[in-house]
Symmetry: C2
Subunit: 124 residues, 2 copies
DNA sequence: GCTTGACCTGGACCGCACTCCAGGTATCAA
DNA sequence: TTGATACCTGGAGTGCGGTCCAGGTCAAGC
């Protein structure tokens, strides 16, 4: 008997709505999710594990389409690990660049803040 | 004679399309843009300056609605500087948090990369 | 037996930020 | 004078990532 999680449990755990969970399944991020005799979904540990990574990648703005590709590779088995690595390292690089960009923009914003503060200070 | 810029010049400078430029105007991010006798827009230095900040804030994911609020404050004059500061500092904080989140997620991704690499190394 | 709560389905709908389009005008160079 | 180029307008369309809804089912507790 494998441990299984209800949709409510999984949704709560990842801060996703039930609709989003089903949406991800429709989009092919998860497949072959088991069902209880009632027809309700039962997520297995492997689903939860994949979802964990999916959420991490989504939170860093990987598009659904790319996540689907990744999820398909996972399903195809261990020989797809090089392809998965390719996706992750590419994403990792993009992320590094994005963070650098945000930091740079943030500096500009902070300069503007400092400028406004100086204007206020001068008018006191 | 005030220096003025054509739509094409401004678009190129900020990496925006002409459509986006007009869209921003419709959305109230820019207003009262001057016109040449031909009816073509002529952006003044103050427009360009505001656009520079707008692009910076957009690039860091400030929504258009908030940018509109900010732009309205700019138009209302110097007494709105405290309100503008409020918007910028709030955004600055959100940005700090966002960057921290991205960095954290990136670590997770890098661990996954390292894991995949170790799997490949072991199977060699 | 009846309600309550959790979940099911297919499909419509949403907000956001653009992006595209048709049909028109102004300026200029050859 | 004839293009070519740059721009104009109003309005429709797009892609993304969900979100919502109606109408149902199932299991448990009162």
């Amino acid at each position: 008997m494998e441990t299984a999680y209800t949709p409510g449990e999984v949704a709560a755990r990842f801060g996703l709505s039930l609709d989003t969970l089903r949406y991800y399944e429709r989009e092919g991020l998860l497949t072959d999710v088991e069902r209880a005799p009632s027809g309700h979904r039962r997520y297995r540990a492997s689903d939860v594990e994949l979802l964990d990574l999916v959420r991490c990648l989504r939170d860093t703005d990987m598009p659904i389409s790319r996540l689907r590709t990744f999820a398909e590779l996972v399903r195809e088995g261990g020989h797809t690990i090089p392809a998965r690595l390719e996706i992750l390292t590419t994403h990792n690089q993009a992320l590094t660049e994005r963070i650098a960009e945000l930091r740079q923009r943030q500096e500009t914003i902070q300069h503007k803040i400092a400028y406004y503060e100086s204007v206020l200070a001068d008018s006191d």
